[in-house]
């Protein structure tokens, strides 16, 4: 293989490019990214960048010399606009085409928006800086969507003295992801910190002056942040012959077609560990899947299924929330360490007969890692809860 193109220059794309080199591949690597900046990290955007505790330079994933040492054909500020699988070419926004023998698709997601103009979203460095510069004491911020991103932004805005209204359509924020009990604990923290959290509220319009609710009520604000999920960036693949269904459809090896792999937020792949297709919008998965895709592309005869235990974390009001596994669609939740009221606990999630995941707040790392291992080894629910007793006694 002499030429590999990686489309998407964020965490997944960079991990793929670095892995190609680390595995000894010496051919050409073109890394295409639609943003002008060198690859940077997104989790700090809703945390240290938004709060202003980090200068923006701190978000870059690699120092410039390390990036240069990879010997990449770096095409930043250039979006991919199309893919020709037959001729093996990626079409670029500048009118150019770049040929490949191997392709890794890591184009990520973009924020879902609401009708109206002038509301903020929070996905890029520019987005974060624009919102940061508006968050001053006494300013009124409405955050639409109390998922992890909206929750983090609300927490930061409060810490800066802004008046924050947090609107959520579901009765309990995050319930679909972490269950009602845990969702309630996390949302109580907002109220404790003076956020006006309103649940069961549907926003139909968001602009620079506020939001309009489904019942006609208008909430005025100095700024509005829309954080209602995201959409995979697959438009450029339309008509290419690749299958797109809420993400680029990939098999258990993360392959979408011969010599074409998907990685990161954009990829929906079959995770053999849990036996289900999933698309994971988490930072750790971006790196892991970028690495796996690069290795499988280089070694077609020694491919390994991509079977990770997904992981995410979220920082809100000094609470660090960490989750390992596949929490969505769970059948049951049990608090197996600590207690919810003290906001120091570990909750275990059952799907079918198995321990599918755990979510921890303020627990010792050894405890969390032991539970993560139990998820990775597909421990049955009864065995997992059986082991709890011994862990607690220890």
């Amino acid at each position: 293989m002499k030429r590999i193109v990686v489309v998407g220059a964020s965490a997944a794309g960079l991990a793929a490019a670095e892995t190609l080199r680390r595995e000894g591949y010496e051919g050409a690597v073109t890394l295409v990214g639609d943003e002008p900046q060198a690859p940077y990290d997104r989790p700090p955007l809703s945390k240290q960048v938004l709060s202003g505790t980090w200068p923006t330079e701190r978000v870059f994933l690699r120092p410039r010399p390390a990036l240069d040492s990879l010997g990449l054909d770096l095409r930043l500020g250039t979006a991919a606009t199309g893919l020709d699988l037959g001729s093996r070419e990626v079409l670029l926004a500048d009118g150019g085409r770049t040929g490949y023998e191997g392709l890794i698709v890591a184009t990520g997601v973009r924020p879902r928006r609401l009708p109206g103009e002038g509301a903020h979203v929070l996905r890029t460095l520019d987005d974060a800086v624009a919102l940061r510069d508006r968050l001053l004491p006494g300013r009124r911020l409405v955050v639409v969507g109390a998922g992890f991103l909206g929750a983090e932004a609300a927490a930061v805005a409060r810490s800066l003295g802004a008046e924050v209204t947090l609107l959520e359509p579901a009765p309990v924020p995050l319930a679909h992801a972490v269950g009602e009990k845990v969702g309630r604990v996390l949302s109580e923290a907002h109220r404790d910190h003076g956020v006006d959290l309103r649940t069961g509220v549907t926003v139909v319009r968001a602009d620079g002056n506020g939001v309009r609710l489904a019942d006609g009520e208008v909430i005025e604000a100095d700024d509005v942040l829309v954080a209602v999920g995201s959409v995979p960036n697959t438009d450029w693949l339309t008509g290419s012959g690749l299958t797109v269904d809420d993400g680029l459809l990939c098999d258990e090896f993360s392959a979408a077609a011969p010599d074409v792999y998907g990685a990161g937020d954009v990829a929906r792949w079959h995770n053999p560990l849990f036996g289900v297709p999933m698309r994971v919008e988490h930072r750790t998965n971006a790196a892991e899947q970028g690495m796996a895709a690069a290795r499988n592309l280089l070694k077609p005869l020694a491919r390994k299924p991509f079977a990770p235990v997904p992981y995410f974390w979220s920082d809100q009001y000094g609470m660090k929330v960490q989750a390992h596994g596949c929490l969505r669609g769970h059948d049951d939740v049990a608090v197996v360490e600590g207690d919810l009221a003290g906001r120091r606990f570990l909750a275990a999630y059952r799907t079918g007969d198995h321990l599918a995941g755990v979510l921890a707040v303020g627990m010792p790392p050894k405890t969390v890692r032991a539970w993560r291992q139990a998820v990775a080894t597909r421990t049955t629910w009864s065995d997992a809860l059986g082991s709890t007793a011994s862990v607690s006694r220890a």
Partner: protein, 67 residues
Amino acid sequence: MSMRVELDEPKCVASGQCVMAAPEVFDQREEDGVAIVLDDGPAPELHDGVREAAAICPAAAIHLVER
């Protein structure tokens, strides 16, 4: 080939991914899970695991100097 392991501690998000990739070289602080470098000049047989840890770190907080 020698390797020096540097940790940008304030960047660490306490995910523990490095400990799982290279348990001989990394650990986590008990109180907050922030990473600790146990061996900043690991032996060659540990290098692959340490490179994996650096690549997988979700905070890009591990920097390796190899020469």
